[in-house]
């Protein structure tokens, strides 16, 4: 694949394996930029990026902001409370106004699945999905896969275990689509209520006993679990969740020595992951965060029409 033709990044479900590889390769080139003392290239100079976050986020928004700055784009941040959505303006009208303000790129985080697609169909601006409801979070999926490829040297043939609230997880969906396309073996683990059998139609295996798959995992990706505010009818409580699905020290000891421990953050120490395990040698949680910048630089650069790879 020689060229990138998309103006938007909505999800990994719609990308081909070649497109995903091309994104990862481009991210590899950008990773070098972050390691220089002068961490800036002029690729998007003169372009305006709007971080439009209708749902709260710190990590993803900051990561996009840094990525855009390193590409020399101008960045504006808008949050839901500060936008006219609060005054009853529709998403479409707000976005049309951003376009009228010459936003070249709109990075959208929204609680409704399909919102980035909705804008992409109506606007000329590049639309980058920074997480839409339970649908997709493609840059998180890409940075997870990028980190796996960096550490293991390949994706094809890897056994990736994703644990937790899969039903409501956009991170899980983007990981599943990307990993399956690139030839990884994916196993989903979690309570039957949060990991319904129907997921097998996406090309993955579904199991409900974490202990059965620990010894065979090359990567274990733990998703944030929520209980206090929601999901009360899905499982009885965090204590039972930890005993069945938490990556405790005892469970971590049964992982292969080179098994990567990943988490998209923010982590609940002592819930989905033991505190010491999160800080342990096999944990790449903070490297994921660093890699997020390179991946988002690649996404912005390709979608916003940058020419030529950085040298």
């Amino acid at each position: 694949m020689k060229t990138w033709t998309r103006k938007d990044l909505i999800g990994l479900d719609e990308l081909s394996a070649e497109e995903i590889q091309f994104l990862l390769d481009t991210a590899t080139a950008f990773k070098g930029v972050g390691e220089r003392s002068l961490k800036k290239v002029p690729a998007l100079r003169g372009k305006t990026l709007v971080n439009f976050f209708v749902e709260p986020s710190t990590r993803t928004r900051t990561s996009f902001e840094i990525a855009a700055m390193r590409l020399s784009a101008d960045v504006v941040n808008i949050t839901a409370t500060a936008s006219s959505l609060q005054k009853g303006e529709t998403l479409k009208d707000t976005a049309m106004n951003l376009q009228a303000l010459h936003a070249d790129i709109i990075v959208l985080r929204h609680s409704s699945a399909g919102s980035p697609k909705f804008l992409a169909d109506r606007l000329d601006s590049c639309i980058i999905n920074a997480g839409d409801g339970s649908h997709e979070h493609p840059t998180q999926g890409l940075l997870d896969i990028f980190t796996m490829r960096q550490k293991h040297g390949r994706i094809a043939g890897l056994h990736v275990v994703i644990v937790g609230d899969i039903l409501f997880s956009r991170v899980a969906r983007s990981n599943i689509h990307g990993l399956v396309k690139l030839g990884a073996r994916v196993t989903l683990v979690g309570p039957t209520t949060l990991v319904p059998k129907g997921f097998e139609k996406l090309g993955v295996r579904v199991v409900h006993r974490l202990d059965d798959v620990l010894g065979d995992a090359d990567v274990i990706n733990l998703l944030r679990i929520q209980h206090e505010r929601q999901r009360k009818e899905y499982f009885p409580g965090l204590g039972e969740y930890v005993s069945l699905f938490g990556l405790t020290k005892a469970r971590a000891e049964r992982l292969k020595p080179d098994c990567l421990i990943m988490h998209p953050g923010p982590i609940n120490r002592g819930v989905e992951i033991d505190s010491d395990v999160a800080d342990g040698a096999r944990s790449v949680i903070l490297e994921q965060v660093s890699n997020g910048i390179a991946v988002r630089m690649a996404v912005l650069y390709l979608c916003a029409g940058g020419a030529g790879l950085p040298t």
Binding site: K92, A113, R173
Partner: protein
Amino acid sequence: MNNLLIKNGRIIDPANGRDEKGDVFISKGKITPRPDGGAFETIDASGLIVAPGLIDIHVHLREPGQSHKETIATGTRAAAAGGFTSIVAMPNTSPAADSAATITWIRERAKQQACINVFCTGAITKGLQGEELAPFGSLAAAGVVALTDDGRCIQNHEVMRRAVEYARMFGLPVMDHCQDYSLVGGGVMHEGEWSLRLGLPGWPRMGEEMIVARNIMLAELCQSPIHCQHISSGGSVRLLREARSRGVPVSGEVCPHHIALTDASLKTFDTNFKMNPPLRAEEDVEAILEGIADGTLSILCSDHAPHASYEKEVEFDQAPFGITGLETEFAVFCDILVHKRKVISLGRLIELFTAEPAKLLHLDRGTLSEGAPGDVTLIDPELAWTFDKERSVSLSHNTPFDNHTWKGRAVATIVSGKIVWQAAK
């Protein structure tokens, strides 16, 4: 009242078991035998089917209160353009049609502005709240033909039981939008592979089937008819088939989208594919087709649910449910049921749009019997036709069928002997 001669058509009148070439005369607005003389306007129906005027028993006209979506004037024009001479308006207006005053207002408005016959339903409960019964006696006196809380579903079984029992006193059928709220929750599409893929909250089949089963039990207990609206699930078809085989007075209806489309259509997040109940899987489509073939499902309707574009053009989970359908439904059903899938004959298709709904709601329509109202629809069952939503006469254009082509279309609509619509040649 008009005198009209419809010449040389193929008359299909299922209520009278007729399928023959001939002429139909309408005198002073009524079907009449061949007259001795007098002046008749003539319409040539050579090559066309002459059918009793089509009836749609599930339409949202949106007046009073939501005239930015549709009005009685525009909604009935859309109905006429779909071949319909009679429609039944749902009560989820603003205010809800739960009083004689509102029913009277709608009927008066229809007299002034409707180009076809408008029949009214009354709400089962006050304000469609599912709690207190609306005054069925005064609703009946005001002329409603059925009771329904459509758009909402009474969750309290005791309230529904007393409603069905009390309605029997007035001979009013009860129609129900079957949806168990505790199971459906915030579901916006069929719960299945596509809802998992798209990350949208699922609306499981069981949410419909629970209430269909409840209604079967209530119809049996009260020995009074319950009509289950817009059936979407194969399981509901099986429940209705079993109940009807035992003589339980229950019935079910089908909308065109539930046999023309599946949940896979939602992959673009287009809200014109969002309706309630939702588009389901291939196996549901097949079960519904079987139900139409064996008579389990005896009513075809549109659930015409217009919404303004600014209301539909929002985030998927926030968009209102519903699509328009009056102008396209006959074509969709004819194309799929008669031509593509050969599920039923053309005669049965016409029966499902005429004699069956007339029987269900005790309407003096749906027949070409002598003395019946001169309502006639002319149909070209072989005509290939492409729908262009920009040319729709409905006030709203929220359709999933823009630019679709079907075989079979109504080409003229005649109400009481007056031609109210004709397809452009």
